[in-house]
């Protein structure tokens, strides 16, 4: 069987996810042994439009992006959204809560009107996405697992339960019991509750868990000592494109 050809692309984002993949180093070589990389700016030079699997990073923020993404979709048998920006819109969607002239001037200054831009959105708002590697940044090990699933012809498995599960598995003390806020209750697991295990709280970078009970979550988050503004900011941080953001 011919090795599947894979290519990496990026839109509005920091390329941090591709960097995570590059950081896999030796593991990357093993995995890449099963595929042929035709385009990967962080690792190899050159580019080709002949590929089976496209890993796409970044969100769609300009009308012009759509055409390029649709072209990628047309070429690829499997399109994988890589990272929060691509999968859920991520922090790029913060701008969606500001007036267009405000953020355009902030970014492009006096030349703002030369650059067309619109509300940031995830890939799935434009084309069909076959699989997602969630997270900001992505977890290299999860990328490896999802890639292996694809190589085995298997629909990649990503957890369909919230971060709480992994927090309990890790034995962490719940942030809410410490009087703090945390988005783990509505966020898709798979990170191993990384942020909470490090003493922080969940920011929601992996997107909403399927069937998230947002009404209940809002009541849970609305506690004495937490301002509504703080809740809103947290929900907008990564989840701006979802129904969670107020």
């Amino acid at each position: 069987m011919a090795k599947p050809k894979i290519a990496f692309f990026d839109f509005a984002g920091c390329e941090g996810d591709q960097l995570q993949i590059a950081n896999l180093e030796e593991r990357l070589l093993d995995i890449l042994g099963h595929v042929e990389v035709v385009s990967f700016r962080e690792v190899v030079t050159g580019h080709s439009d002949d590929y089976d699997v496209a890993f796409v990073e970044g969100s769609i923020t300009r009308p012009g992006d759509e055409e390029r993404l649709k072209e990628i979709r047309k070429n690829a048998k499997i399109l994988v959204a890589l990272g929060a920006c691509a999968a859920i819109g991520g922090i790029n969607c913060l701008k969606n809560f500001q007036a267009e002239n405000v953020y355009r001037e902030e970014v492009y200054g006096a030349h703002a009107r030369w650059y067309p831009t619109y509300a940031a959105r995830p890939l799935k708002s434009v084309v069909k996405v076959d699989a997602e590697v969630p997270g900001c940044p992505i977890d290299g090990a999860e990328f490896a697992r999802i890639t292996k699933d694809l190589l085995l012809g298997r629909t990649p498995w990503v957890p369909d339960f919230p971060v709480c599960v992994e927090c309990k598995q890790a034995g962490n003390v719940c942030r809410y019991e410490m009087g703090r806020m945390c988005l783990g209750i509505i966020t898709r697991a798979g990170c191993g509750a990384a942020c909470v295990s490090q003493g922080a709280h969940c920011w929601g970078c992996r997107g909403l868990v399927p069937g998230a009970n947002l009404d209940a979550a809002r009541i849970v988050m609305d506690r004495p000592g937490t301002s509504r503004k703080a809740v809103q900011d947290l929900l907008r941080f990564f989840l701006g494109d979802t129904g969670a953001a107020l």
């Binding site: 292996k148 085995l152 298997r154 629909t155 498995w157």
Partner: protein, 278 residues
């Protein structure tokens, strides 16, 4: 059995010997046990099949018990990760199985009685095991009726086999589809519409075995009860997520019952009171 290294989670290898396409969605797989022994299952039991690296899933055994052969059959709809991976296998490929697990249709109870087999959708797959086992001992049973209901004609499976059965005269075959197309000449309607077509049914000596989609049971059972068949003469096989097959993992619970060890075949009397069963 070496108790030092025994684990109930370790599958044993079987080899795919034949793969037959039954419909656009369903394929029959014939496997051979590498240990050379017959599977020694009873009609209605299931195995947990592993495609290593992809996962493990439960499948009803479709072939009747065989005392002298080490082969067995399952038929699979391409619907989840394991079934998709199975469709990519070619003869010669190896997979792992655990089991057979679970309860079976109480064939001994059916001896000397009339037998009604109700197969909705893919329900024919596990019921085949029972049907052909009974046909092998045809003289021990009274009248045998097979009812087959399918959503659309193109989803029908084992079409030739069922036609053959109807011709043989050993079994009365009644078939229906919910949504006919222009090619379909037979009965139209849900499977319950077939039951009134069974003439001269003797409810006191008729035993019913049924397998089908979750929605089917309630209606067919009600219809059977209407015809006067007692609930302890009705046997159903229920599908749940039978992950471990050992009554441990909890996924297949119906109230307090573990479908994998207390089922999948239940006498209707035993589950009538369980709200989650049907």
């Amino acid at each position: 059995m070496n108790t030092k290294t025994f684990s109930p989670y370790v599958p044993r290898p079987v080899t795919l010997v034949e793969k037959t396409r039954l419909s656009d969605f369903v394929t029959r797989f014939t496997f051979e046990q590498d240990n050379g022994k017959p599977l020694a299952h009873k009609p209605g039991q299931f195995v947990n099949l592993s495609v290593y690296g992809v996962g493990e899933a439960p499948f009803s055994i479709s072939s009747p018990p065989r005392r002298t052969q080490n082969t067995f059959e399952i038929a699979v709809r391409k619907i989840g990760v394991v079934t998709s991976a199975m469709h990519n296998l070619e003869p010669g490929a190896k997979v792992g199985i655990r089991g057979p697990y679970g309860t079976s249709f109480p064939v001994m109870k059916f001896v000397g009685k009339d037998v009604l087999i109700v197969a909705g959708g893919l329900g024919y797959i596990p019921l085949r095991s029972l049907l052909f086992y009974q046909l092998r001992h045809r003289e021990e049973f009274g009248r045998m009726v097979l009812m087959v209901g399918t959503r659309e004609p193109k989803e029908r499976i084992f079409v030739d086999e069922i036609a053959e059965l109807a011709k043989s005269g050993d079994v009365e075959v009644l078939e229906t589809v919910d949504m006919p197309d222009e090619t379909w000449k037979g009965n139209v309607g849900v499977i319950t519409t077939l039951l009134p077509m069974v003439k001269d049914l003797d409810p006191s000596s008729t035993y019913v075995s049924m397998v089908g989609p979750p929605i089917m049971y309630r209606f067919v059972i009600a219809e059977c009860r209407k015809r006067g068949i007692a609930s302890d003469q009705i046997f159903v096989s229920l599908e749940r997520k039978m992950k471990c097959g050992l009554g441990k993992c909890g996924h297949c619970q119906i109230n307090e019952l573990n479908t994998c060890i207390d089922g999948p075949v239940f006498c209707y009397t035993d589950i009538e009171a369980y709200q989650e069963a049907i």
